[in-house]
Amino acid sequence: MSSFEDLDLQAQMLLSYEVEQFLYAEARLLDTRQLDAWLDLLTDDIHYWMPIRRTTTAREVDREFTQPGAMAFFDDDKRTLTMRVDRLGHGRAWAEDPPSRTRRLVTNVEVLAVDGNDIHATCNFQLYRTRLNSEEDCWVGRREDTLRRVDGELKLARRHIFLEQTVILAQNMSNLF
């Protein structure tokens, strides 16, 4: 499926740059609480998913993540994501009033494959959050994102998020990844 490796290095670089800049701009929308603009970056068929991770023996490490269809921390379509955003716009989203302060460090951006209009990319991230008197939370992990070129613009068509935590150490995940 991948035609990415067939590109010459210059073309790969250009595409990587585009992807990276998209992801940076998208993270900036979330960090600056421009959630409606963020929603506009999503395709209507987006799948936004964060499975649950478990500690297993090395022998059974294939059971580490829950599978699609089972329990998950996030298993959202666009409607659900819209509800999340709407929630935050409402005056009684207590976990986000006062609003959290977040910062997304997006690193290790790699384009893994190109499939027609779909660009499959991966990146590592750290999402740092403080609430109230500098109470800190931090999530580190990897994302698998699919970007789709729609009318010349990149959109986010799939986001699978893999955290390094089993039990979530934060009191909530009222933010987006």
Binding site: M50, P51, I52, R54, T55, T56, T57, R59, E60, R63, T66, Q67, G69, A70, M71, A72, F73, F74, D75, T80, M83, R84, D86, R87, H90, G91, R92, A93, W94, A95, E96, T166, V167, I168, L169, A170, Q171, N172, M173, S174
Partner: protein, 443 residues
């Protein structure tokens, strides 16, 4: 100890007020571990989580990890996860399947029931004189299941599980188990809140907070206002601190709902159908009883299990006075259609857990309440649990007792009163002798 002198030490049943120090004091917390979690029947998992021989699941009793494992004979054992040699853990996975528990320090090997079955060089180093039967893994004093829900107690003096649960605890589980054969859905939401575990427990009876705390969820249509049934609340109180509180149907309303099913597509009807339709199935009314069949409330199995309406149970694991770990287990009746199952899992994934629409806001409130309890000045001021105190009556329907009233704090008061009795009792016999029977008459 003169119980009379102490019976209002922290909770005053006359005024419905509570000393906040019970949420932050380290000594009280240690006493909870011994007097409550060390004695109670604690939910550890559901049988469907460990279907095969050798399957295990790492759970907790109080603040301590225990291994729940299915033995080769099909029996379930609850083992302490600490080798008696130097104390190393013998199992470091959350779940899995194994043939034995092999200690990674010196290689002592334990059978699925905890028996020490292997020691490297037993003959040459221990000279063949070691009494292996005396040095197995510690284990729960009693293990038993009710309808697939596995409980364990560390106290051999505890009454049998059935007696412990009583009709209220059993009813609480029936309200989930009665929906059909249950099977776990893979994946448990686990996260940590900076709150005392009791504040999370008391909240399950709390139908007062819904409109304010969960205002966003109501607005989004996740919690239709009608479903709170503010005027038709039913509280059922059981021995040892169990209880069920929340919306109740009026006698005869269930049948009406059954009929209303066709054509009526209001969210009201939808929600009641989801929660109540199965109750019109044959045999359910007989099983739940005339009162039970009408309760759509939240069962609490003392001390720390909540049977939620989302086909889930939530365990509140204490991690010190100021921290609680929440575990959400999800069980689906096997007869659901794929579409029903998908919808039910969507709810389980999106109502609770750290990213759940409802729970995000709850956690913040509970941790701030815990902080307030620890304040130099605020900690000295009592909390108020007086809603409905002395204003309702325990009624009876089909031999079962309940309070039918408006939104109230009867369940919370019952929880703290029983908590106090457990804390003051020296042991099970004393608790059985001194514990309050569920109230009758005016409450």
């Amino acid at each position: 100890m003169n119980l009379a002198q102490h019976s209002a030490r922290w909770y005053n049943p006359d005024t419905g007020t509570l000393d906040r120090r019970i949420f932050t004091d380290a000594d009280i917390y240690r006493q909870e571990l011994s007097h409550i979690f060390g004695r109670a029947w604690n939910f550890v998992c559901h049988e469907s989580q460990i279907p095969a021989r050798g399957d295990f699941f790492m759970s907790y009793i109080g603040a301590e990890e225990v291994i729940v494992v299915r033995h080769r004979d099909g029996s379930i054992h609850v083992l302490l996860n600490s080798c008696p040699h130097r104390g190393n853990t013998v199992c470091r996975a959350e779940l899995g399947s194994t043939r034995s528990f092999f200690c990674s320090y010196h290689g002592w090997n334990f059978d699925l029931d905890g028996t020490l079955i292997g020691m490297p060089n037993e003959v040459d180093f221990y000279r063949g004189e070691f009494d292996k039967s005396a040095w197995g893994l510690g284990s729960a004093a009693q293990v038993a299941s009710y309808r697939g829900f596995v409980f364990a107690t560390m106290d051999s003096a505890a009454p049998p599980l059935d007696e412990y649960l009583g009709w209220v605890g059993r009813l609480g589980i029936d309200m989930l188990a009665g929906k059909g054969d249950l099977e776990v859905v893979d994946g448990i939401h686990k996260n940590r809140l900076q709150c005392n575990w009791k504040l999370a427990v008391d909240n399950l009876f709390d139908w007062y907070h819904v409109k304010v705390s969960h205002g966003t969820s109501m607005r989004l249509g996740l919690l239709p206002e009608e479903t709170i049934s503010a005027d038709a609340q039913m509280v059922i109180l059981g021995a040892y601190g169990h209880g069920i509180g929340g919306p109740g149907l009026k006698p005869g309303q269930l049948e009406a709902l059954g009929r209303r099913k066709d054509g009526d597509t209001s969210t009201d009807a939808e929600w009641f159908d989801m929660q109540a339709a199965w109750r019109t199935q044959p045999g359910v009314r007989e099983q739940l009883g005339e009162t039970g069949v009408r309760s759509l409330g939240h069962p609490s199995i003392f001390p720390n299990l909540w049977v939620a309406l989302t086909n889930q149970v939530c365990l509140r694991i204490p991690r010190g006075p100021l921290e609680t770990e929440l575990w959400w287990f999800t069980f689906m009746p096997t007869h659901l259609t794929p579409e029903q199952r998908r919808t039910a899992i969507w709810s389980a994934n999106h109502y609770f857990g750290p990213a759940g629409f409802l729970e995000q806001d709850d956690g913040e409130n509970w941790s701030h309440s815990t902080r307030g309890a620890g304040g130099q000045f605020t900690g000295a001021r009592p909390l108020n649990f007086a809603m409905g105190l002395g204003q309702d009556y325990v009624g009876e329907d089909g031999g079962q007792h309940s309070i039918e009233t408006v939104v109230n704090e009867h369940g919370q008061r019952w929880t703290y009163q029983n908590w106090q009795e457990w804390m003051l009792a020296a042991n099970w016999p004393e608790l059985m002798a001194t514990g309050s029977p569920p109230p009758d008459g005016l409450v």
